[in-house]
């Protein structure tokens, strides 16, 4: 297994990729920056920065509202980005691509539009125990509003969502299963294909929180068969404040609008308002146009790198980092699923994650420490927090070495 991974990695030139990301050229605390906080947010390549700058410099106006040239150009850019996103996840139609602020807003949209109009007392929503707060709290709010019930499929000590117990919780009352594709706290890749099959055979719909998946492997929503798929632009090297909610057209068509305002209407009178068609029905107000343009550029960029080659490169880095830090005294890796992506969470005996974060930062190594917006995961493992290194397209073996050296430094400080 090691050989094909290693050779795939060699064919991926991360050193060249680094040069596309101007932010990485800086020093932090006197050391070259080693950015290993990609699960929180990725950096932007020049291609994205330039696309946004070009849009702001030459093309900006409001969309869908003017006959003048700029408004038309802005509309073309925005709708072009929608078509780009459709291709990126292989949706059937661009009517299935709703621009939102990010994963969080996408999930809230489904909870409030689909959930509020369709669910009631006796209905059940099933999530897993490794979800990000963004895929827990909107459902809890919905339960309060409608009287439906939230069920949680357990994880095992490796941090895997096991199919058996999950299937046991799927009943005729389950209306929606909402699960992460990849866990941000543990790195676990969740077997979403199998979950979709099982849920559909019970008549339940499936929403996938793809925040941590989209930047690491190709996504095909039709092959997955899911009903909704939400992700954020900033985790795939695009801008903040923009993301996508994919929804199957038949479902979106039947769902009521979520927010009201301009753009989402066809006609308004004080007696009666009719709504715009898909996808604009769900896009009230002026959207994040430059964000969508930047996101489309990020998708171009990622595909130019080759998502399969990128996935192999990151697997190689993850395997290498795992093997190296496991050898350090007192390290415990949190999340040891058989199938993981790009995330390495761990603790070091005698050194709180918060102290680790500070010491690593002093060495120029940026990682995340804390509960990673997944407090139930921390509770499950009975720890207050973890340190988390997460890899992206510009990370190299030298970054892994810097991480290991910084951890050795922490061991030295804390004895």
């Amino acid at each position: 297994m090691a050989t094909p991974l290693a050779s795939a990695s060699r064919s991926f030139d991360a050193e060249r990729v680094r040069r596309d990301f101007p932010i990485l050229a800086q020093h932090v605390n006197g050391r070259p920056l080693v950015y290993l906080d990609n699960a929180a947010s990725g950096q932007r390549p020049l291609a994205v920065l330039r696309a946004v700058e070009h849009y702001e410099t030459h093309t900006h106006a409001n969309v869908h509202r003017g006959v003048h040239a700029l408004s038309q150009a802005a509309t073309d850019a925005f709708e072009g980005a929608r078509e780009r996103a459709r291709r990126f996840i292989n949706a059937r139609s661009s009517r299935e691509i709703v621009f939102v602020r990010g994963t969080t807003e996408g999930i809230n949209l489904v909870a409030q539009s689909f959930g509020r109009s369709r669910l009631g007392k006796g209905d059940e929503i099933l999530i897993s125990a490794l979800e990000h707060h963004a895929n827990i709290v909107p459902w809890q709010m919905l339960c309060e509003q409608t009287g439906c019930t939230l069920k949680v499929a357990p994880i095992n000590r490796r941090g895997e969502v096991e199919l058996e117990p999950l299937l046991g919780l799927l009943t005729g009352r389950t209306r929606l299963v909402a699960v992460a594709h990849v866990s941000n706290a543990l790195g676990t890749v969740v077997p979403v294909e199998r979950i979709v099959q099982a849920a559909h055979s019970c008549g339940a719909l499936v929403l996938i929180d793809g925040a941590q998946a989209v930047a690491h492997s190709p996504i095909d929503v039709r092959a997955l068969g899911c009903d909704f798929y939400a992700f954020s632009g900033h985790k795939l090297y695009g801008p903040t404040g923009v993301g996508v909610l994919y929804g199957r057209e038949e479902l979106l068509e039947e769902m009521p609008p979520w927010q009201g305002g301009g753009e989402m209407i066809r006609t308004v009178s004080f007696e009666r308002t009719t709504y715009n068609e898909l996808p604009w029905k769900f896009e009230a107000g002026t959207p994040n146009i430059s964000g969508a343009v930047g996101l489309a550029a990020a998708m171009d960029y990622l595909e130019s790198l080759g998502l399969e080659a990128l996935a192999a490169h990151e697997r190689h880095l993850l395997a290498q980092a795992t093997a190296a830090i496991e050898r350090l005294p007192g390290i415990e890796i949190i999340g040891t699923a058989a199938h993981k992506a790009a995330v390495l969470s761990f603790t070091m005996r005698g050194c709180h994650p918060h102290d680790l974060g500070t010491i690593l930062d002093s060495q120029g190594v940026a990682i995340r420490t804390g509960h990673h917006c997944a407090m139930p995961v921390m509770t499950f493992f009975d720890i207050p927090a973890t340190a988390r290194a997460s890899f992206g397209c510009y990370n190299t073996e030298a970054d892994v070495a810097a991480l290991v050296a910084a951890l050795e430094k922490a061991r030295e400080v804390f004895g």
């Binding site: 709180h352 102290d355 500070t358 509960h371 927090a385 004895g415």
Partner: protein, 148 residues
């Protein structure tokens, strides 16, 4: 930034062997502190002798800065009355948060070891959690007295 400035020997020592650690039997009051951002949790128990703190203990889970700060605090406030604690708190707060604060003088004693935290803004909350918790315990005891 110099790590040795933050993780001074006094801090590492009090982190490894926190003083006055563990529940106090027969406390007059106690309070719990929580920093949801990093998950630090802390309980402070107090016993009074009149207006003075006769005994203080703490327990909790946290980073080295929060543990050492709490340990140092318990040593510093034992035997002091509320006014003196208030004054000490104001001084340590200034040392922790004001970039141009005068270097800590000898009267701060071992608490001066926390001065390096100032250079690490993300960690100031770790050092102040125990003091906020102590203040909450003191206020609670004042409330209890006033409602009697």
């Amino acid at each position: 930034m110099d790590l040795k400035d933050l993780y001074r020997d006094v801090i590492l020592d009090h982190n490894r062997q926190p003083r006055n650690f563990g529940a106090l039997t027969d406390p007059d009051t106690h309070a719990e502190g929580h920093n949801p951002l990093c998950g630090d949790r802390l309980t402070v128990w107090l016993r009074f002798d009149g207006d003075r703190i006769a005994d203080i203990r703490f327990e909790g889970k946290g980073c080295a800065i929060s543990t050492a700060s709490a340990s140092l605090m318990t040593e510093a406030v034992k035997g002091k009355d509320k006014a003196a604690i208030r004054e000490l708190y104001d001084r340590i707060h200034a040392v922790l948060t004001q970039p141009d604060a005068a270097p800590p003088d000898a009267s701060l004693g071992k608490l001066a070891a926390l001065a390096g935290v100032r250079e690490f803004p993300a960690r100031v909350k770790c050092a102040t959690l125990c003091w906020h918790t102590l203040n909450a315990a003191l206020e609670r005891s004042a409330d209890a007295v006033s409602t009697e």
